[in-house]
Assembly symmetry: C2
Homo-oligomer: 355 residues x 2
């Protein structure tokens, strides 16, 4: 592998000084880009796109060809792991994910196993192909859904506005939920280990639904399993350090606890005050975020003003990765993304120069 030409993102995750604030965007390869929609149409479906390494590579690189982003993120889905367990993932057009065989009861949880990583080979093949295509331009981020977020979809069988079934299990059968998230944690560790072996430079856990839990439920069923995932990861075969990012949507009130979970970086959603968050966590972790993705639907002047405000809120100390506070929305004009990336780079250089 050629050496990285731009390691600003990795240095920020390690809280080392950088000449400017690195920026990437959750769902940067997505429906707001016409070229993404063209490739997806060619693939036939979202899942075919994710499962065809050459096409996953194509869409992973598309945003980098438009914008000077500081990291690429593997194009995939958080639900590949339960799919590999045999639950039968599909995406109906215009709808969210659906499992053909959701986890309905105690016996079906008992039967679940850490999946054979051969079932996920398309992911590792995509990583290798993306790394070859990147040729060291920027680091590549691998990722997985958090053990609890996977459990949400595995139990409900689809998306939900309130995930009532899994929340009921958290209250009525916490032992059962604990067994499921512990199994998921082992599966996610194995999955991220393979992603690291295939070449990713950093990993991220997406905890989309942990914010629906009570505080006690969050600590037991979401944060602790994420801690278990991270502590079970093996070093990369070539000795690279592979930093980890943890992102719980709606987790702002639990920031102090999240900062101790073993991740080098904590992702913040848009509701969190970034300056106050930095004061709370001190120098324990890097922070990632947290522009409201809805800002990208406004005019360019608003995008520039609000992006600069996030850079200033993060302050001049090392350890900030600029991102949105949630995934980019499909209605985003690509030109606003160009304004965003340029603003973050310019304003953060100015901040370091004392302006």
């Amino acid at each position: 592998m050629p050496p990285l030409q731009n390691d600003v993102f990795l240095r920020a995750l390690r809280r080392e000084p950088t000449p400017y604030t690195p920026v990437w965007l959750m769902r940067q390869a997505g429906r707001y880009l016409p070229e993404y929609n063209a490739t997806r149409a060619k693939a036939g479906s979202f899942l075919a796109l994710a499962k065809t390494p050459s096409l996953a590579t194509e869409v992973t690189l598309q945003p980098l060809d438009r914008f000077p982003l500081d990291a690429a993120i593997l194009f995939s889905d958080i639900l590949t792991v339960p799919d590999a367990m045999g639950l039968g993932l599909s995406f109906a057009e215009g709808e969210g994910p659906r499992f053909e065989r959701p986890v309905a009861d105690e016996s079906s949880i008992a039967r679940l196993e850490v999946p054979d990583m051969a079932n996920l080979r398309y992911v590792f093949d995509a990583i290798r192909e993306i790394k070859r295509s990147l040729a060291g331009r920027v680091p590549l981020i691998g990722f997985a859904g958090s053990p609890f977020t996977l459990a949400c979809y595995m139990i409900e069988g689809a998306g939900s506005s309130d995930f009532a079934t899994v929340r009921r299990m958290a209250h009525g059968r916490p032992d059962l939920l604990q067994r499921l998230v512990a199994l998921n944690a082992r599966a996610v560790s194995a999955y991220l280990d393979e992603q690291i072996r295939a070449g990713v430079d950093a990993v991220m856990l997406f905890d989309t639904w942990g914010g629906l839990l009570t505080t006690g439920g969050y600590l037991a069923h979401s944060l602790d399993p994420m801690r278990a995932v991270l502590s079970a990861l093996h070093p990369a075969p070539d000795g690279r350090s592979v930093p980890a990012i943890v992102f719980t949507k709606g987790g702002g009130q639990w920031l102090d606890a999240i900062a101790t979970c073993g991740a080098q970086c904590v992702g913040l959603d848009w509701t969190v005050d970034l300056a106050a968050a930095r004061k709370r966590v001190g120098e324990r972790v890097a922070l990632q975020g947290n522009l409201d993705p809805i800002v990208l639907l406004a005019d360019a002047a608003t995008v520039a003003r609000e992006a600069a405000a996030v850079v200033r809120a993060a302050g001049p100390l090392p350890g900030h990765v600029f991102n949105l506070g949630h995934g980019i929305v499909p209605a985003t004009p690509p030109d606003n993304v160009a304004v965003l990336v340029e603003t973050v780079h310019r304003e953060s250089r100015a901040l370091r120069a004392g302006h």
Copy 2:
């Protein structure tokens, strides 16, 4: 009016000692009760039910006839105020609220006025009839939507998963949103003043969507207007003190700020650690909440165990009103509500006795 026979709820709001913890439940008059569904069928629609004082009285009292609750809450809707402004509220069967004439642009915001309270006479008539029917059994809570939550529906014209339009306005035209929420604050003050004159014993502001804002946006567009509402309220004509409760769903990370808004009590959603919240706010305010409403879908033993845990988390000091952390869900078995109320009363008496 006969004097109150049970003022435990009002004393808890004032953080005075009470023999047990008072309990009421958000949406306690609702679809989980067969008698509610029968009255609603008789009314023909949700809105007809809310706008017919005798029927609103009937459903307000139904849960009190089943369970020894410590407060009644006016049966109404948070969107009565924009309806009275002329926006044309309706509820399609099985769907949420919809406005026929949403607030689409700057000129339509400029044309809005504090509505003539005569348009809301059905609410005040219902309050007078409920108070007569209650005959002092328990206090009656009046309520309104928060200025920001009203703005969400007024701008989007209906419910939404992300309220992108109003969030975009918060970033791109904060001046315009500020004008709208300031108008709403004046309207809500006038509305609650009339409710107080009609006889309610406490008032509550429901801020269902403030949690979608950035921290800065929340303080400016949701919390400050709620503060304005409360500071503009007039004393009751008969000199009664009428305490206020403020509830922001998803507001856990802003608890310290909310505790200074002028409300005597802060409502907590189910994600907040009640014991930690008590430590944070000290003796500044009473706290209301916060059992996960999903617990009521579990078995009776789980309901009793989790309700007792909330009572213990609140601790033995005065100033706790037991409630759910969000509205009761329609699938709740009424028998579980009986278990809940009985458990709260018994466990809180035991806690005060030092057991």
